[in-house]
């Protein structure tokens, strides 16, 4: 498509030594921070709010608005404010944050300090998933360099602003990508999501106001502060400004991370950036936003653009984290869904009844179906279980496990019933679409 493809987040990727302070600064790092240090915190928030930036972790909530939920100092009862960067990247199909950190750790550090200043935090934590040890090592080196250069820590660049940034390594738990579970884990607990209310912005880490932002979000903040809200809004769509990192995987020629303006046509992402399908293959389905979002049919893919609104309008699915998983005609969708449910059955934190008991149950049924040992009745039970888990739990994990089941069964029922040796029952589709 003939739209500009500005490299906002990936500008320094590929520059040799881009992870070092010297190279990063040579290419513009910390310009935004210097500017932010001259701005009032409320003005930083105002710019981010005006830019229309939406959280890149999956929910797409406006970042600037989220920041305003931190109670004003006089209502905090002396409690500190924390900024937590979610680098727990664990959603199957999503693999952008580790490249962000690996290729440009200073852009994240800069974003953390700016955001911390905006919300009044003196400490920021970057929570990396446990498997990112080698990424964390590089980030720690970058932090050490930044600290030595007075860009992090006390009295940053002589401004009187203090922001410490610490990395924190998880230890293997998908659920810690959920922001309240992440906070539990940061506090040294089991990574179990917390009840809301209270929301983290009011009562988060150590019961203090806490803002949790994704890596990509904070890096976008850096760019926005440097270039202004209008420049950001000039990219992408009206409701979803800016660029997004799309993580493309599955049966495509050129898998990888692509930075594109939001609103980019899905088919062009598939055929141009991703190089299209493998020779002789045809498209069966796409999961557009990480494994938790509903699956899309080829017809839906043809009509959708890569932004929050279009995907939802066209297919009922979500842009999510931008994990774009392509499945060609060889894919056994029963097997694929069983694979995903094994993931959810393995990752449920075990707290809420429906999710704890239901994910394993759904996986169990799917393995039987995959192996040709399930009946039509089992497929109905499977759908019921998904419906009974969705929105019945403390956090969004339950829905995340339910949506693949609901959408696969709704959009590709033939494959599932065929595995049970029957055709799609007459009553199936209306009931499925009722949910």
């Amino acid at each position: 498509m003939d739209v500009p493809k500005p490299r906002i987040l990936t500008a320094r990727w590929g520059i040799p030594g881009s992870h070092t302070l010297a190279v990063a600064q040579e290419h513009g790092a910390y310009t935004a921070l210097r500017k932010a240090l001259t701005m009032a915190p409320a003005d930083i928030t105002a710019v981010v709010k005006a830019s229309g930036l939406r959280g890149r972790g999956g929910a797409g909530f406006p970042t600037g608005t989220k920041w305003t939920f931190v109670p004003p100092e006089e209502k905090r009862g002396g409690k500190p404010v924390y900024l937590v960067c979610n680098a727990d990247e664990s959603e199957p199909g999503t693999f952008k944050d580790r490249y962000c950190i690996w290729n440009d750790p200073h852009m994240l550090i800069e974003g953390c300090v700016i955001a911390a200043r905006a919300i009044g935090a003196k400490v920021a934590y970057i929570y990396l998933r446990g498997e990112f040890k080698y990424v964390k090592d590089r980030l720690d080196q970058a932090l050490a360099e930044a600290r030595a250069a007075g860009l992090v820590g006390k009295n940053i660049l002589g401004s009187g602003v203090d922001v410490d940034v610490w990395t924190h390594q998880g230890a293997g738990a998908y659920i810690c990508g959920e922001e309240t579970a992440l906070l539990s884990s940061l506090e040294g607990e089991r990574g179990q999501p917390k009840l809301k209310p209270p929301f983290p912005a009011v009562e988060g880490a150590w019961r203090s106001p806490t803002i949790v932002n994704n890596v990509e979000t904070l890096q976008a903040v850096t760019w926005i502060v440097e270039h202004g809200a209008d420049a950001y809004k000039a990219i992408g769509t009206e409701k979803a400004p800016g660029t997004k990192l799309f993580c493309c995987s599955g049966n495509i020629r050129k898998p990888g991370v692509y930075e594109l303006p939001l609103g980019y046509p899905m088919m062009e992402l598939l055929n141009d950036e991703c190089g299209g399908l493998l020779p002789g293959r045809s498209l069966k389905a796409v999961i557009p936003g990480g494994s938790s979002v509903p699956i899309m049919t080829p017809a839906e893919v043809a009509r959708a653009t890569m932004d929050y609104e279009s995907i939802n309008e066209v297919s009922g699915s979500y842009l999510g984290s931008g994990g774009f998983i392509v499945m060609d005609d060889r894919t056994d969708l029963v097997d694929a869904l069983a694979n995903l449910l094994r993931f959810y059955a393995h990752e449920s934190c075990g707290q809420c009844t429906p999710c704890r008991e239901g994910c394993g149950w759904m996986y169990s049924i799917l393995t039987r179906l995959r192996d040709g040992e399930a009946t039509e009745a089992d497929i109905r039970v499977l759908r019921d279980l998904a419906n009974n888990i969705h929105s019945r739990t403390i956090c969004f994990f339950g829905a995340s496990a339910a949506m693949p089941v609901q959408s696969f069964l709704k959009k590709f029922p033939e494959e599932f019933f065929a595995r049970a040796g029957v055709g799609v029952p007459d009553d199936w589709r209306p009931a499925a679409s009722a949910k």
Partner: protein
Amino acid sequence: MAAFPQPPAQGHGPVDWSDQDRAEIAELMTHYPTQRAALLPILWLAQRKWGWLSFDVMRRVAQTVDLPPSEVYSVATFYTMLKKQPTGKYLIQVCHTLSCKLAGADRIVEHIKDRLGIEEGQTTPDGMFTLMRVECLASCGSAPMMQIDDDFFEQLTPESIDRILDGLAKGEPLPLPRPEVDKWTFQSLES
């Protein structure tokens, strides 16, 4: 789904930190408003030091952060990367979630099994390698992939696996050369 491993009865016997460990722990604790928050970093430290988290190790960690040992066990059993039983010198973890599966993770696992002569969850008789399947490691674009200890190995082929395992068997240290680590787009191995 396999049951979560229960720690074996045998452990390390009484264990203690070195002065250097204590200094590191003290430094870690300065990062957080509570000493309890340092539990995960300290468990990581303990695992690096003692290889795995036996009950003896968990008891020591519990004393260090002033928690009941049951609490440390509770946390340790929540996170899959914290080892509740010993593994071989190298822990090979092959991702088998959807994108890796689509890219042939099952064949990768089979290849490693054949080569090492072990099943998933087992350790080679020489104690060098333990093989496990794991869920998504956020390397879907460079699938299939595996993690050996702290390092990712991406776009795996039987040949590249053989090279890596040969190297380790010969005593080459991690990290081995990983040409994929600085890339973010890939050519599908199938194309």
